[in-house]
């Protein structure tokens, strides 16, 4: 492999032996390609396989690891959990046994210990409220952008996406400065005499709502905008023509037709918000209970990896349902568009 180190792959595999490449190497490469072709993993198949491979490596494998840990015992060791699979040698009978021990008590604890149930419920509530806030704020914004002059839509969408150019963490920190005692907000409200300057929103559930709503608003606006922009304004004229006042036309035409956007946006906000850790950690109060925090504490403070894993698995199960709803709605929407 001397001068030809950078020879394109295709050349190396084509026909004769390029100088400097050992014969067995090119034969092996050709065999591999032939094999991949045979199983349909070449060309288009390869492109389709790539994301599956990605998901397999970075989602399914970690998931299985976590799933396994959730059934083990917590031990003080490195790693801090027992192995659920053990190979036992029975010297008397000269037998080998593969023993799998599943510790179900962690899951039982999730169901019986109030802490976890509260944490889940509280997370769901916080995520749901934040999603609703995002929807209430995002819908008018998306609507206004979709109805703006076409030349203005690009710049306006740019403004929505612009915050992503700054680190998420820095933006959340910025909210600390705004919400803290003697912070920007307190001073502004203090100046008009509404509150005294020691008043603060920081370290409360309200601060977490503000943080989540602020951070996830673009995820609500983007799909909403996409559906609202496609909405043909002539449909609203037709509704008006048939006797609808503008708000009736909104309820009967715009709203139902933007439902896919509402569902998509809500799930895009709700799903990550349930497991949110950074925002409640930085902006929340000591009693802001969210499952992300519990998870973190189990992992890093208690070093109880099995419980932490079980919490993570349960969270996933919670979220699988809305994700499936999302998939279903999306598939139906695409189906409808294809036939249109």
């Amino acid at each position: 492999m001397s001068r030809n180190g950078f020879l394109p792959l295709g050349d190396r595999m084509s026909g004769g032996n390029p100088p400097g490449v050992p014969a067995f190497l090119s034969t092996a490469a050709a065999a591999v390609v032939a094999l991949l072709r045979r199983v349909g993993l070449w060309g288009r198949g390869l492109v389709i396989a790539a994301p599956y491979l990605w998901l397999f490596l970075f989602f399914l494998v970690p998931f299985l690891i976590v799933f396994r840990i959730s059934f083990s015992d917590a031990v003080i060791a490195q790693p801090p959990y027992s192995d659920i699979v053990q190979l036992l040698e029975d010297t008397d009978l000269e037998q080998w046994k593969l023993q799998i021990t599943l510790n179900l008590s962690t899951y039982l604890r999730l169901l019986t210990d109030d802490l976890y149930i509260y944490a889940y419920l509280s997370s769901l509530k916080m995520a749901a409220v934040s999603t609703l806030l995002c929807l209430l704020l995002g819908y008018p914004m998306a609507y206004a952008i979709a109805r703006a002059k076409p030349s203005m839509r690009g710049p306006l969408m740019m403004l929505i996406i612009l915050p992503f150019w700054t680190s998420f963490l820095i933006r959340v920190y910025a909210w600390i400065g705004i919400l803290k005692a003697n912070g920007v907000l307190a001073n502004m409200l203090g100046a008009v005499g509404l509150v005294d300057s020691n008043w603060e929103l920081l370290y409360s559930d309200v601060a977490v709502y503000i943080g989540i709503t602020y951070s996830y608003l673009p995820f609500m606006i983007l799909p909403l905008y996409a559906t609202l922009e496609k909405l043909d304004p002539v449909l609203l004229e037709a509704a008006a023509d048939l006797g609808c006042k503008p708000w009736e036309a909104f309820l009967k035409v715009t709203l139902p037709l933007s439902l896919p956007g509402i569902v998509a946006g809500s799930l895009l906000v709700f799903i990550p918000a349930v497991g949110e850790f950074v925002i409640p950690e930085l902006l929340g109060g000591p009693d802001t209970l969210m499952i992300g925090r519990v998870l973190w504490n189990e992992f890093f403070s208690n070093r109880d990896w099995p419980v932490a894993s079980a919490v993570a698995i349960a969270l996933l199960l919670f979220l699988v349902v809305p994700i499936m709803v999302f998939q279903y709605v999306q598939a139906r929407q695409q189906d409808g568009e294809e036939r249109r």
């Binding site: 004229e237 037709a238 509704a239 008006a240 023509d241 048939l242 006042k245 139902p256 037709l257 409808g336």
Partner: protein, 384 residues
């Protein structure tokens, strides 16, 4: 023209002839500008109750814009619109006694055919049972009963058009605006629906304003036609008036086929006018006077079906309204044939003649020398 006009009740009045009649729709000096562009230019129209009024014009002539102003989707830049004596200029669409069928149909994609049609009735809080009956009746009329449960995207273009028609008709508005209502229908269904529309209109007493760029459709269905060009109304009249007495070259050429002869007025009496035309190769004699001085350059329009072809010279010649040429093309249409004839002056003339004999026995064929002639009433003098 090959189309038959729908024969209307002869007792029908022609309210536009009656100076005491009150128009149902009055458009007064309406202009609509989009920026600098004038889409509708100083249009005034009076449309009477029960009329079937057609707006005819080429693409971009402002028909849709005028209709949208009647429906209330656009505000006139200038002028006023009255419906039933009420000034509608500022009234929002949902309060106008008007329904519109949109050129793009504008069906609600999230509703079934049935729900689309029922939409306006529900909006009026009509009892459910009554809505069901009305919708069923309407769907039967447009032959869509079998498709009641389908969504618009599951229909063909023509079916969608019929849903749009049903949705606009079902509320039985006083004034119905139709933007190209029959464009996507096949010929059979189109003719059937044309009759259906006219019947419905006479039965329900709805005033129709129909936009079309299909002149046959306008001729067939309407009581009167307004011909639009570049935002102006060029001429308003009954189909016969517009066809037989076009007021301008544009109208003559837009509606039906026409032969144009350029010429110069040489004799102008109260009962006739004589025009010398080098193009025609003869003097054109027309049996009415024109308010134009001797020497004025004019065009004379002669419809193809008014020209007679013969192998022998016409009897009462005198060199007027008679010329000669050679048959260049024959298009056989079954009931009639179109002859393209090159005059000796070089001008080509189009002539249609009914096929009174079988094709094989036809007296004229390619490259025959023929005489062309027409009667004194056939020509229409048009200023240039």
């Amino acid at each position: 023209m090959a189309t038959a006009q729908v024969i209307r009740n002869p007792a029908r009045l022609e309210p536009w002839q009656d100076p005491k009649a009150v128009p149902y729709v009055r458009i007064e000096k309406v202009t609509k500008r989009f920026g600098d562009f004038v889409a509708v230019d100083d249009v005034s129209l009076s449309i009477y109750r029960n009329e079937f009024f057609a707006l005819l014009g080429g693409s971009g002539s402002g028909k849709t814009t005028l209709l949208r102003m009647l429906a209330g989707f656009e505000r006139p830049s200038e002028g006023r619109i009255f419906i039933d004596g009420v000034d509608m200029t500022e009234v929002p669409p949902y309060e106008r006694p008007v329904n519109m069928m949109f050129q793009s149909y504008a069906l609600f994609p999230h509703m079934s055919v049935e729900q689309n049609v029922a939409f306006g009735l529900k909006q009026d809080r009509m009892p459910a049972a009554q809505i069901r009956d009305r919708v069923a009746e309407m769907l039967a009329l447009v032959q869509l009963d079998r498709f009641a449960k389908r969504r618009p995207h599951q229909l063909s273009g023509g079916q969608r058009q019929r849903v749009a028609l049903a949705r606009a008709l079902v509320k039985r508005p006083k004034l119905l605006l139709l933007d190209e209502p029959l464009g996507a229908l096949d010929k059979r269904l189109r003719e059937k629906t044309q009759f259906e529309l006219v019947n419905l209109q006479e039965k329900l007493g709805i005033t129709f304003i129909v936009v079309t760029h299909d002149q046959e459709e306008a001729m067939t269905m309407s009581s009167r036609i307004a011909v639009m060009n570049q935002g102006y109304i060029v001429q308003t009249g009954t189909p016969t008036e517009v066809y037989e007495y076009p007021g301008s070259r544009f109208v003559a050429e837009f509606i039906g086929d026409v032969n144009m002869f350029e010429g110069r007025v040489v004799e102008d009496e109260p009962d006739h006018v004589l025009i010398r035309s080098d193009e025609a190769g003869c003097d054109l004699y027309i049996n009415h006077g024109v308010p134009m001085p001797i020497g004025t350059q004019v065009s004379v329009a002669v419809r193809p079906e008014k020209v007679l072809l013969s192998k022998d010279p016409p009897p009462d010649g005198g060199g007027r309204n008679a010329t000669r040429g050679i048959v260049r093309e024959i298009a056989y249409l079954g009931d009639a044939s179109i002859y393209i004839i090159q005059l000796h002056t070089g001008k080509t003339v189009r002539v249609t003649a009914p096929n009174v004999t079988r094709r094989v026995d036809m007296p004229l064929t390619w490259d025959d020398e023929v005489h062309l002639s027409w009667r004194p009433f056939a020509g229409v003098v048009l200023a240039q």
